[in-house]
């Protein structure tokens, strides 16, 4: 059984690296990274990851625009997206949940449970699908 592949899209290099290592060491994840929305869209379409971990606040193309592009592209629209956001207010969280994402995880996430949260979200998504 091959490892599941996950694409991390975040403009913060430190976060990308820390999250990648975090997912790699805690689970059987093959991690892809993209430093911007545009890069993320390309990698999602070409690499066909099993899941996408998407930052909301990014310069140039922000997370929500990236999300709608992913959902609009037939080759990427089936990929479950987990939003990773520093916007912690409840209203924002509720808003994000309506956008058809698998989960919303608030920064700073718990590195010990991040992998589990992703797995559970995917399982929920699978069950719903």
């Amino acid at each position: 059984m091959t490892n599941k592949r996950i694409l991390i899209i975040d403009d913060e290099r430190d976060i990308r690296q820390a999250t990648q290592i975090c997912l790699e060491v805690s689970g059987d994840w093959e991690v892809l990274t993209a430093a911007s929305g545009r890069e993320g869209l390309v990698k999602a379409a070409t690499e066909h990851p099993d899941a996408i971990l998407l930052d909301v606040m990014m310069p140039d193309m922000d997370g929500l625009t990236t999300l709608s592009n992913l959902q609009a592209n037939p080759t990427t629209q089936h990929i479950p997206v987990i939003l990773l956001t520093a916007k912690a207010q409840a209203a924002e969280q509720r808003y994000f949940m309506q956008l058809g994402v698998a989960a919303v995880i608030t920064k700073p996430y718990d590195p010990f449970t991040l992998s589990d949260q992703v797995v559970q979200a995917l399982a929920r998504e699978l069950g719903n699908g």
């Binding site: 976060i15 520093a86 912690a88 700073p108 996430y109 718990d110 590195p111």
Partner: protein
């Protein structure tokens, strides 16, 4: 007096003498009658003259009474040749009715010759032909009784001529002679003419007497009327006494019946006829009844002799006690209105009559010839006196005077009583008016007091009202009052202004409709849903935020309001609503939310890296991989630094903006500041392969040197971060003088501090440039043209915001100019002050 002339020729038989004497007699008689109106005098003169003319022994005038008897009322006797008969009465039998009728109807004259036993009769009015008077004398035998009668009187010849008055036999003119004597036609004719003259005289005297009586009556009536009418006070007593006296009464009374139920009768008495034991006689039931049956039709009761009429016992007792014999009662009434009675009574009188002989019908001698004329005196005691027609007439006249006077008096009394009532009324009214006046005065006093109180209260009220008005007008919040239906009863200017109306336009309008009161999501409330409706209906106080009001122009604004019920005596009569426009607050809140959101993001981002890195290290997941471990440590350290910078910047900008971070301005040289900043950034520039070129300008200025260096390093940091490697970043400065003419045309007028010289710093790079629409916003917090590079360069997103705050605190300006793809230049000025 008429001279008695016995020497005048008086022999009968000498015709020419007789004629002459007759003419003389007639002439004198006429003169007498013309000269006198006194009948006794005329009669006395007549008998004397006639006796002288006839030369007989006696000539007398005999007057008949109503009962047929008669009296000698005048007599002339010659030398006592015959006994005097003057004043003597003769019974009616002496001249029987037939003889009296002959005297009247035929005007029969009789001449008796006792010696010749003949009687000569000469009717003046013949039965066959009355129109032709004649002096023919027919002689015939005389009745022996007649002869005896005359003889017994001592008369041998007699002549009797009737005296008529108003077709009645008034009396007789009689001549007696003690010797036989013939009477010639001429004598008869003369004496007849004398009798005729007497008739005239009697008529005149009677008329005179009547006139006198009438005058007396009128005088009496006048006197009584004077007493009754002359004064305001009715002198009834005097009038009654006059009346009683005029009627020859012994006493009398006036009874005035009571005019009202509770009044008493008024009674005036003359001559002891007072009130009986049983009250006023006029009030006895028998009185009225008796008058009705025995009186003359109820109008008057005329009783000449009370012994001749039937009298009820109770009246009779009273009458008897007063020795009453005749009574005259006049019913006093005025136009059928009964007023009372006027009563006059008489007592009995004694009457003396001298008879020539005793007229006794029972005397057997009565039928016999009368042989004696012995004078006989008769005295009748306790005789009634007849009320004569004159007296009755007088009493009626007086009665009507009394009635009129009493009626008038009663009217006067009524008027007086009315007047008295009126006066009492007026008095009472005056009293009442005085009371009312007093009350009015008190009332006025009270009113004045109350007015003063009211004025004080009003002044207070006005002051209060003005205060309220001022408060309402000055209040920034909108305040309005509603009635139970939701109509505006008052609204303050702030409320009207917020809604775009005038105060007057809104009064009486339905507020709910005017403002289209809507929920926060812009859905209109129905009136029943409106929270203010619930205040009006249930009295609940509503605190509501974020509802929406619409202005007159259709624009809307969010409001916050409190609606409170207005109660009067427990009843809800309306509501007062205080509202305010919360647009600005909402905006600030939104900005705050955004700021918090950004700060949250900015803080969480480094924390995420730190937490992940430290988490991996802490778990020991990387203990076999030293390279990754090292990297994680670096990430943790770098992000910790970033966090510290961020927190410092946030605190810094807050302190500068709030004025808590004061600028410690000291004199320094701009060149020093520029060099220090350049030195500080040189390492970073070299690292980024940027050529940093500083051109210091030596100008003295008074600033907070540290803050200006911070500003310069921030701007240099920015420029270095965004400049491509190998390019140059320039820092230079120049002094700007407002007098300098190189200020470009069309630029807006310089603000005040531009009038003074200032230093202008320039930081120029050849970076990517900034879009024009972002040239302003880059100075806002956490605004970056492209955040990705700043993160690598350790920017916090607050650098430019801090720079702007510092420059503004120094009274300077900061701005940027840029061309995309060519680069940007940041400028800021600092005032140099006037001393430089």
């Amino acid at each position: 007096m008429i001279p008695t002339n016995d020497s005048l020729p008086n022999h009968p038989g000498s015709g020419s003498e007789q004629i002459y004497a007759g003419e003389v007699l007639l002439h004198r008689m006429m003169n007498r009658i013309r000269q006198s109106l006194q009948l006794p005098e005329i009669l006395s003169d007549t008998v004397t003259e006639v006796r002288l003319f006839l030369q007989t022994d006696r000539v007398m005038v005999y007057r008949f009474d109503s009962d047929g008897s008669g009296e000698v009322v005048a007599e002339s006797v010659a030398q006592q040749r015959l006994p005097p008969l003057i004043g003597q009465h003769f019974p009616s039998e002496d001249i029987p009715l037939q003889a009296r009728e002959l005297f009247l109807r035929a005007r029969q004259r009789s001449i008796v010759d006792v010696v010749g036993q003949t009687i000569g009769l000469s009717p003046l009015n013949s039965d066959s032909d009355e129109s032709i008077p004649t002096n023919d004398i027919r002689f015939q035998p005389v009745d022996p009784c007649h002869i005896e009668y005359l003889t017994s009187m001592g008369v041998l010849s007699s002549l009797v001529i009737p005296i008529l008055h108003r077709h009645q036999l008034w009396g007789l003119l009689v001549s007696h002679h003690s010797q036989p004597r013939q009477v010639s036609q001429r004598e008869l004719q003369v004496v007849q003419l004398v009798s005729d003259e007497l008739s005239i005289a009697i008529a005149q005297c009677t008329l005179l007497e009547q006139t006198r009586t009438q005058a007396f009556q009128e005088a009496t009536i006048n006197r009584v009327a004077f007493q009754l009418h002359s004064m305001t006070e009715m002198h009834l007593q005097q009038a009654l006494e006059l009346t009683v006296s005029a009627l020859g009464g012994a006493g009398g009374r006036i009874y005035i019946a009571p005019q009202a139920p509770k009044q008493e009768a008024l009674v005036y008495v003359c001559g002891e006829w007072g009130m009986g034991d049983r009250g006023e006689i006029e009030e006895l039931p028998s009185w009225q009844e008796w008058l009705n049956t025995s009186g003359n039709g109820g109008e008057a009761g005329i009783f000449s002799d009370l012994q001749q009429v039937a009298i009820p016992e109770e009246l009779d007792v009273i009458f008897a006690s007063l020795h009453m014999r005749g009574l005259l009662v006049i019913k006093l009434q005025y136009r059928q209105h009964f007023l009372g009675y006027l009563s006059v009574f008489r007592r009995a009188v004694d009457v003396e009559t001298i008879w020539a002989r005793r007229p006794d019908a029972n005397d057997p001698r009565h039928q016999l010839p009368i042989i004696s004329f012995e004078k006989w005196r008769e005295i009748k005691k306790a005789q009634a006196q007849v009320w004569t027609d004159t007296e009755i007439e007088l009493s009626r006249s007086l009665g009507s005077q009394f009635a009129m006077a009493i009626h008038q008096y009663q009217l006067y009394q009524q008027v007086n009583s009315l007047n008295a009532d009126l006066q009492r009324d007026i008095q009472e009214r005056i009293l009442a008016e005085e009371k009312i006046s007093a009350l009015n005065a008190k009332l006025e006093e009270r009113v004045q007091e109350r007015t003063a109180q009211l004025q004080t209260a009003n002044t207070s009220l006005q002051r209060l009202s003005r205060q309220h008005e001022l408060i309402l007008n000055s209040a920034g919040e909108g305040i309005y009052g509603l009635d139970r239906q939701g109509k505006i009863t008052f609204i303050n200017p702030a409320a009207a202004k917020m809604l775009g109306y005038g105060v007057k336009e809104l009064t009486e309008q339905y507020m709910h409709v005017i403002v289209n009161h809507s929920q926060p999501n812009a859905t209109s409330y129905t009136w029943e849903q409106n929270p203010i409706h619930s205040t009006l209906e249930r009295g609940t106080i509503q605190y509501i935020s974020n509802d929406i009001f619409y202005r007159r122009d259709g624009s809307k604004f969010p409001i916050e309001y409190v609606s409170t019920p207005i109660r009067e005596q427990g009843e809800i009569v309306g509501a007062v609503v205080i509202f305010k426009d919360i647009t600005e607050r909402q905006m600030i809140e939104r900005m705050k939310d955004e700021f918090i959101s950004i700060v949250s993001h900015e803080l969480r981002t480094p924390l995420t890296s730190i937490r992940s890195a430290l988490g991996l290290l802490a778990r020991g997941s990387l203990k076999n991989d030293s390279q990754k471990s090292q990297r994680m440590l670096e990430i943790a350290f770098d992000n910790t630094n970033r966090l510290v910078r961020l927190i410092n910047d946030i605190l810094d900008i807050e302190r500068i903006n709030s004025g808590k971070a004061t600028m410690h301005c000291i004199p320094c040289n701009a060149a020093d500041l520029m060099n220090q900043a350049g030195d500080e950034m040189r390492a970073m520039a070299e690292k980024a392969e940027i050529n940093l070129h500083v051109t210091p300008l030596s100008v003295q200025l008074t600033v907070d040197a540290d803050r200006i260096i911070q500003t310069l390093t921030n701007l240099l940091n920015n420029a270095i971060k965004f400049a491509p490697p190998g390019s140059t970043v320039w820092l230079s400065a120049e002094v700007e003088n407002p007098e300098k003419p190189e200020q470009p045309e069309g630029e807006e007028l310089p603000v005040i501090h531009d009038l003074f010289p200032s230093i202008l710093f320039k930081i120029k790079d050849h970076g990517r440039g900034i879009p024009e629409d972002m040239l302003e916003t880059i100075f806002d917090r956490f605004q970056q043209v492209d955040g990705s590079n700043s993160r690598y360069s350790g920017g916090t997103g607050l650098g430019l915001a801090i720079c702007r705050s510092i420059v503004q605190q120094h009274g300077g300006k900061i701005w940027a100019e840029s061309t995309l793809g060519e680069g940007s230049t940041f400028y800021f000025t600092l005032p140099l002050g006037t001393n430089d």
